[in-house]
């Protein structure tokens, strides 16, 4: 009995050491950027090793007040708008697609599945040229709705993850509801969706992060400085603005972290555990 207890303690200690190491690996580069954002000089070359020699809040102040050339607050608002809209539409479309692909057996189903798989394999930005031309034809250059349209329309292509999840929810739950007289739409809204909440959270997060941090598409479609998203804006900063870059990038992480904590409760609990008794 004692032997087992010791082994258990050793196991716990090792686990914690590994966890600490992992946390450090993930934290360090971010900490480095954070400290860099507080540096007084703003240039990387004045640092002593990893850390700045002098600290100040100047770059943050500049970030939000000196908006003549680089309007950071504006960029931030733009990005928030584009990302949250695309997140909502994209998630809805993805979940619907995944649900249908998982639960229905219809004649073009396997063909659709193979087609999407194949389509996803094309190197995407060769297609960018075409997307750009298309947007000029639809008059959606320099428009945030154009971006939202592209992000949301592209989102269902990644339905496979969600379908994999729906495949693991026992069908007997659906059948029980059908016997009780629910229609398929009701089964989806009242039963499958609540059960799939961890997967919805994952989808929400991932479809938010993509537009939030994408760089190529907004750079292609947004030509006016006031319409920039944060990613494009930060890239347009000059070389001598490292501290401002670091400060600006700190705030990029905030919405995602807030979202994660707001939603993490759903992510962790598997609701369908024990829903079916065999």
């Amino acid at each position: 009995m004692k032997h087992i207890k010791i082994r258990h303690t050793v196991d716990t200690v090792i686990t914690y050491i590994i966890i600490l190491a992992i946390s450090l690996v993930f934290l360090f580069p971010i900490l480095w950027l954070l400290l860099a954002s507080f540096s007084r000089s703003g240039s990387l070359y004045s640092f002593d090793g990893f850390f700045p020699t002098e600290y100040s809040l100047d770059s943050f102040k500049k970030l939000f007040t000196d908006t003549a050339l680089y309007n950071y607050p504006r960029w931030f608002g733009n990005t928030l708008f584009v990302a949250s809209m695309s997140c909502l539409f994209g998630t809805a479309l993805t979940i619907l697609t995944a649900y249908c692909m998982s639960r229905y057996r219809f004649k073009s189903r396997k063909a659709l599945m193979k087609t999407t798989l194949v389509l996803g394999m094309f190197p995407s930005f060769m297609a960018m040229t075409a997307v750009y031309l298309l947007m000029t034809q639809f008059n959606l250059i320099n428009s945030h709705w154009g971006l939202i349209l592209i992000y949301s329309a592209g989102a269902p292509m990644g339905y496979m993850t969600q379908k994999g999840f729906f495949d693991t929810i026992p069908k007997s739950i659906d059948e029980a509801a059908r016997i009780d007289g629910a229609t398929n739409a009701q089964v989806f809204l009242r039963i499958t969706l609540p059960l799939a909440s961890p997967m919805i959270v994952y989808t929400l997060l991932s479809s938010f992060v993509w537009p939030w941090s994408d760089f190529i598409l907004p750079q292609l479609l947004l030509k006016e400085k006031d319409l920039y998203t944060v990613a494009v804006g930060l890239m347009s900063l000059g070389d001598d603005e490292f501290a401002r870059f670091a400060a600006g990038s700190m705030f990029i992480g905030v919405p995602i972290i807030v979202m994660y904590f707001a939603l993490s409760k759903f992510l962790i609990s598997g609701l369908s555990a024990g829903a079916v008794k065999d």
Binding site: F26, F50, Y99, A130, G158, P198, G253
Partner: protein, 446 residues
Amino acid sequence: MTHPKVRKQHFKTVKEIVKRANGKVVCSACIMGLGQFLYRQWAKGILYLLIQIAAICFFVFVGAEAIAGFFTLGTIESNAWYGIEGDNSVIMMLMGILAFIVLAIYLYFYYANIKDAYAMQCAVEQGKKPRTLKDEMRSMLDDKFYKTALFVPIIGVCIFNVLPIVFMILIAFTNYGPDVKPPVLIDWKGFESFIKVLTLGQFAPTFFKILLWNIVWAVLSTALNYFCGLGIALLYNKKCVRGKAFWRMFPILAYAVPGFITLLGFKFMFSYGGPINQMIVEAGGKAIGFLDLDAKWSARGIGLVVNCWLNIPSSMLLATGILSNMNRDLYEAAKIDGASAFKQFTAITLPFVVFATTPILISQFIANFNNFGIFYFLRGGGLIADGYFLASDTDLLINWLYNLSISNDYYSIGAAISIIIFLFTSAVSLAVYVLSPSYRQEDTYQ
């Protein structure tokens, strides 16, 4: 596998309709909705008629011209001297493809219209009432719910994914290049660009060198990301770990910072004036150009590690989501049978996770194969190494494509290369997918 059977039935209905259709169905075939009117289904009839009118308007005013333009790719050469605004071949091709998509959608409705009329004929023959619009709507929310739900996603994917891809494929068969681009007219040239890529001394050696490195990169980085992510998720799921949400926060933090920022950060970190070199110099060493033009393997290694840092958090999140949906009873049973923790992992956890994630594994492989950002931001674009044509030794095919097409206007060559990439990746992943349990036994866990 119900598929072949369903397809056979499908052809049977077409044959049956052709053989047995009565006059009213033929009316529907001539003018959409007419048959429905004759069966006194006014609502349906009007709906189909409106579709017909919209389609006719579209093709008369825009569609026919667009389709013609697709084949000619423009006939009027622009001439600034005489003030002639010529045809833009690229836009004509794009609009032509769009018109074909609209045509396909129209044909779908046309077929649905005939099938509907025939269904009415059958219903009347059997003495039943034909299905009204209301019945159809109800069925759209029930047994045909998938049709309602998939309509918008499919249209969106057609316009923003299929159309650009088709466009790109077609570009490979033209002579769109540095010398031939709008306003010069572009022409169809068949397989010329493919032959150039595979045989011409200019392109072929670079292509094969990059392809080899690209495969090594994709396999290594996918395996690393996947197993590290799964490992971390399992670690955080252990019973002895307290404050799971707190520990998970660190990878999430990394996930929260957009990739290009981290990549630029790492670039600074490994640069000559960066902290790592400063420490080396202070210790009496010489500054190392980790990401220099001749730093082949150190740059590749840094790329792999940084890519892990970027992608492990998302695979961890995913694995956490999947693990949370597992049936806990299996573990209880295994414990009673005396299975060790390792045995539980290989016999229960791994098959389940692999089952649920094979498709994702494939898509991650593809994403890594076509990872544009990593070396673009880490080393800065546009590096050209010895023995390469417009590429460097860390460049993946996608980076080469960028250099060729976006920076240097070799569009048709670039398109030909992307088709070759596509053929390769799709062959690999389709094979893996079709052989995987998540495709063959979809219902295992349902």
